[in-house]
């Protein structure tokens, strides 16, 4: 019990070792970059990959542990580790697909890779956070790095616009989040998640706190803050412009890494800890989920730029995940975690193909540019078709099994109508995903011939994503077990002795 009532910081190095490694490598990349030529960015990328791999191994080694550290502000459980691993995978794939991209565009490698690593650090912090301050800290570390990354193509006004838009709206949403945190602190007198829970639903709970206006308003504001980060409708307005303008690997990182990390915090707060206060919020999530899926898919239908299309598709997928959050419960939690993993590989793969088609002077981001790709680049086209089918939810790919898991969890909670809405949304989404396949396989000749040069790292990214999408779909058991185990580990925190909670 000492860890709960002691005022001193209880250091637990293993719990933060992966984070420390990422931080050190980030600084190291920056330092090495000072002495390196601009053309040596590949070496910096490899250094980043090495650091991420080391962090991955260290995180994997702590699997199965359950601890609180630093006065409960850091949680080390399988939930945190699962998210750390997923974040590290997406960061790894981002760096891998950037290796040639950064060189082609002559971007400053040191800054680029270190910002990615700092963003990764923020994301991992978000995944391990045990109190609202750390969540805020993680969110900001991540966001500020990504604001800068979004504007990395300084010569391109769209990139500048993306960065500015993302920054202003992001700061705005952070304001909501922070205000929500303040109100919750006001209502409960603590920022620690477990204490907040105890205050609203524990044995010593002062009954009305859970329903006090302060608490509800605080939760609502936090919901808006996270809604921005996961791009839920109606807080999604920034997404298409930012996704379109940002460098493609950064877009991939935003669509996957940022989303995973934001969901880590979102889930930790709203499903794991504050579920009790959230019971009357279910309808809000219901409406958010339905809106997000439907609006995302409907607007995606008319997009002609593939990055914008994938942006709206990312919104729609956030909607499917919100279906899981609406359902609540352990099954839904496991489903969300599993879905995120499948989504990570699929989305990363799709963006890697987009990056592979672009060159510095010609980004080839219109769907029309994909015409006839199946003839020129059969392997790449087949991979893209696979990703599109997985995003649609065609078995036996990861996207399908993820939807199956989510729908199953939602149905077991009786959310029949929401599941039907989600199901019909998949059909709508089939239309625009398939339009990419139509362009690649059925339309003749592109507007201009896209010539590919040898880009081994990009191809490796695509290949890894293909393996992930197929493996997670065909052999889902271990991944499902890991996901549900991870979520269960977050909810099965041993009950806290009431006395220790009193200040």
């Amino acid at each position: 019990m000492s860890e709960f009532n002691s005022g001193a910081l209880d250091f637990s190095w293993p719990s933060v070792l992966p984070l420390i490694v990422v931080a050190i490598v980030a600084v190291a990349v920056l330092m090495v970059g000072v002495f390196a030529d601009d053309d040596e960015s590949v070496g910096l990328g490899m250094l980043s990959i090495g650091g991420l791999a080391l962090a991955f191994v260290l995180a994997l080694a702590t699997l199965g542990q359950s601890a609180r550290a630093f006065s409960g502000s850091i949680l080390l459980d399988n939930f945190a580790i699962y998210f750390e691993l997923a974040i590290l995978i997406s960061a790894f794939l981002t760096v891998l697909m950037s290796l040639e991209y950064v060189g082609d565009l002559h971007l400053p490698g040191a800054e680029y890779y270190s910002l990615i690593l700092f963003a990764t650090l923020g994301m991992m912090l978000l995944a391990t956070a045990g109190d609202l301050i750390v969540i805020f800290l993680g969110l900001e570390t991540m966001s500020i790095a990504v604001y800068a990354l979004a504007g990395f193509r300084r010569g391109d006004p769209r990139s500048i616009e993306a960065s500015l838009k993302y920054f202003i709206l992001g700061a705005f949403s952070t304001g909501f989040l922070l205000y929500g945190i303040a109100l919750i602190y006001g209502a409960t007198g603590t920022v620690r998640l477990d204490r907040i829970r105890a205050a609203i639903s524990g044995p010593m709970a002062a009954g009305p706190i859970a329903h006090s206006p302060l608490m509800l308003l605080g939760l609502g504001l936090m919901l808006i803050g996270f809604g921005f980060k996961v791009a839920a409708v109606p807080f999604h307005m920034w997404t298409p412009d930012v996704y379109e303008g940002a460098p493609t690997p950064v877009t991939a990182f935003m669509a996957v890494g940022v989303k995973i990390a934001a969901f880590a915090g979102f889930l930790r707060i709203f499903m794991v800890y504050l579920g009790a206060a959230g019971a009357e919020w279910t309808w809000v999530l219901w409406v958010l989920a339905a809106l997000t899926m439907t609006a995302g898919n409907a607007i995606a239908l008319v997009q002609t730029n593939i990055k914008r299309m994938l942006a709206y598709s990312a919104i729609a997928h956030a909607g499917y995940l919100l279906v899981g959050m609406t359902a609540a419960g352990n099954a839904a939690g496991g489903a969300i975690l599993y879905y995120l993993l499948g989504y990570a590989f699929t989305s990363m793969g799709a963006f890697a193909v987009v990056a592979a088609l672009g060159r510095g002077d010609a980004p080839h981001e219109r769907i029309a540019d994909y015409r006839g790709l199946a003839r020129r680049q059969p392997g790449l086209a087949a991979a893209m078709a696979l990703f599109m089918l997985s995003l649609t939810g065609v078995p036996p790919l990861a996207g399908f099994v993820g939807k199956f898991y989510l729908f199953s969890a939602a149905l077991s909670q009786g959310l029949v109508w929401l599941v039907i809405i989600a199901a019909l949304n998949s059909v709508i989404s089939a239309y625009y995903y398939i339009s990419v396949i139509v362009a690649m396989y059925m339309d003749r000749g592109g507007a201009e011939d896209v010539r590919m040069r040898g880009r081994p790292a990009l191809f490796a990214t695509v290949a890894i994503a293909v393996v992930g999408v197929v493996l997670i779909g065909l052999y889902p058991q271990p991944f499902m077990a890991a996901a549900s185990n991870a979520f269960a580990s977050a909810t099965s925190v041993p009950p806290i002795h009431a006395a220790s909670l009193l200040p």
Binding site: F407, I420, S426
Partner: protein
């Protein structure tokens, strides 16, 4: 357990599909594809011989855990209902590949063979899967290759046709997925665990409203696939624009998947609802029969004509299925095979004509009998089989269906019989316009008759039509036990329904009244 025949049957084509991708030269590609379609054909013939008649249980079954967290297993098995559809699939795929290699498909043959073989895996898997999740996986798997086949190698508005086909099918199947999940969760209450295995799900206690909605979820998916009127509108486009091999498989096998779904899943899982919905489905079937025939009659395009005739013929199949008696269901099963052979044959013949003339407009032909007598003779036999001439296969199926429908609701048979007459009418009229009369177009004089390869494609179909028409016994005996088992579920449900109704009536009557009656 211990036998891996079915797994081999399902996955050899997929293996072949991957190996075909490695081939470089066109002739090597076609040879490899043909060989890899022969292997499942050989296996299915072997299984036909080994199949124990008089047994309703799944034979050659295999079951392994797949996703234990959901109680999902890889469970495949074969019974008298799937056996013949499997045979039909392996035969038609082999013949389609044989035919397509002869000049029908010239561009991107590697991908074509890849998708054909992948399609075979999807079809066979869907026919043999006993686990609903596994079934769904294969059900969707067969959609994708067919989409590519239509979209890449089709004619005219192929992209539109392919997309329409996919979206229609997906609406149905995704709602079926929701129904499957709901059913599994409902069953888990009394099973104590989640399971998608069909035998576990029979007799799941459901409220009447639940059963109705779930049946609707399954039925919509299958009705779109069949396709039943009024959700048939994707079919004329898909059939017409598809390449010949695509049309053959689409009409020959894929439409049967809808009928098969009713027999395997929708009816035995929700027998009470199926009984209640029987008259509705019979009515829709009759509308389809008459509507399909009437629309077929006025089509100027040969392929479109055959496509609409499929709507009509599948109406007969659905009529037999929802008659829910032995004759009806067996007739429906028989008719599925007939339709596969005859419509598959017709599409092949139209494809051969198209290869020679690059048109399918009926008005472009006339008097072809003189220039290509052999083709005309074969067309005649296939057409007569399609019409249902006694002595050929079509007659046996139609007769049984009409008998079954008559025993159930005699008016239905009375209406449906008009479809047979109309069918004869439009087929014979078409035949007359294409083959008889004087040659009106000079080009028609010089076209070549069937090549050896084309004869090799058509000969097995003709042989089967004759065989099935003259000697249906070996088929019927293998179907009977499975059909009987299916119907016993329906009858049990019917008995339960009757008992409930009798009870309700007894309660409604006052005791005094019953004494007075006495």
């Amino acid at each position: 357990m211990g036998s891996y025949w079915l797994t081999g049957l399902i996955f050899i084509p997929l293996l072949g599909a991957c190996l075909v991708l490695l081939q470089e030269r066109a002739d090597a590609i076609w040879r490899a594809a043909f060989i890899f379609s022969l292997a499942p054909l050989a296996i299915s013939l072997y299984l036909f011989a080994e199949f124990a008649p008089g047994q309703a249980a799944y034979q050659f079954a295999e079951q392994y855990p797949w996703i234990p967290g959901f109680g999902i297993t890889y469970h495949v098995g074969m019974d008298g209902i799937s056996l013949f559809l499997v045979l039909l699939t392996t035969i038609l795929i082999t013949l389609s590949i044989l035919y397509s290699g002869g000049g029908d498909i010239e561009s991107r043959s590697r991908e074509f063979c890849f998708f054909m073989l992948m399609l075979e895996t999807g079809l066979l898997g869907a026919l043999l899967a006993i686990d609903l999740f596994l079934f769904y996986v294969f059900w969707e798997l067969m959609l994708i290759p067919m989409y590519f086949l239509i979209g890449i190698w089709g004619h005219g508005r192929k992209v539109y046709a392919a997309l329409k086909f996919v979206l229609f099918t997906m609406v149905g199947s995704i709602l079926m997925l929701v129904a499957i999940l709901y059913l599994a969760h409902a069953a888990s209450v009394h099973l104590g665990r989640l399971s998608f295995d069909l035998p576990d799900l029979y007799g799941t206690p459901l409220s009447p409203a639940e059963a109705r909605w779930l049946f609707a979820g399954f039925a919509l998916a299958f009705a779109i696939k069949v396709p039943m009127w009024p959700v048939h509108t994707w079919l004329p486009d898909a059939h017409t624009e598809a390449p010949t091999a695509g049309s053959v498989i689409l009409a020959g096998v894929m439409l049967k998947m809808g009928c098969y779904g009713f027999l395997r899943f929708a009816i035995p899982l929700f027998p009470t609802t199926a009984i209640a919905a029987g008259p509705l489905f019979m009515a829709l079937a009759i509308v389809g029969i008459v509507y399909g025939a009437l629309v077929a009659m006025v089509q100027p395009d040969l392929k479109r004509l055959i496509a609409y005739s499929s709507v009509s013929h599948l109406g007969f199949v659905m009529l037999g299925i929802f008659a829910l008696d032995t004759q009806g269901v067996e007739g429906a099963l028989y008719q599925m095979l007939n339709h596969g052979l005859s419509t598959g044959g017709l599409f092949l013949l139209v494809g051969m004509i198209y290869l020679r003339r690059h048109t399918r407009a009926i008005s472009e032909f006339g008097g072809l009998w003189r220039s290509v007598p052999l083709m005309a003779a074969i067309f005649m036999v296939v057409m007569l089989s399609s019409i249902g001439l006694p002595g050929l296969n079509g007659f046996v199926g139609e007769f049984l269906i009409m008998l079954g429908a008559y025993l159930r609701i005699w008016q239905a048979a009375a209406f449906a019989v008009s479809g047979i007459i109309l069918g004869a009418l439009y087929m014979l009229w078409t035949y007359e316009r294409v083959w008889f009369g004087p040659i009106t177009k000079a080009v028609n004089q010089t076209i070549a008759d069937l090549s050896a390869r084309e004869i090799a494609v058509m000969a097995p179909l003709l042989a089967l039509m004759l065989l099935m028409g003259l000697y249906p016994r070996p088929l019927l005996t293998r179907m009977e036990p499975s059909v009987a088992q299916l119907l016993s579920r329906v009858q049990a449900a019917q008995a339960r329904l009757d008992a409930e109704r009798a009870l309700a009536q007894a309660v409604r009557r006052s005791p005094g009244e019953s004494v007075a009656v006495k």
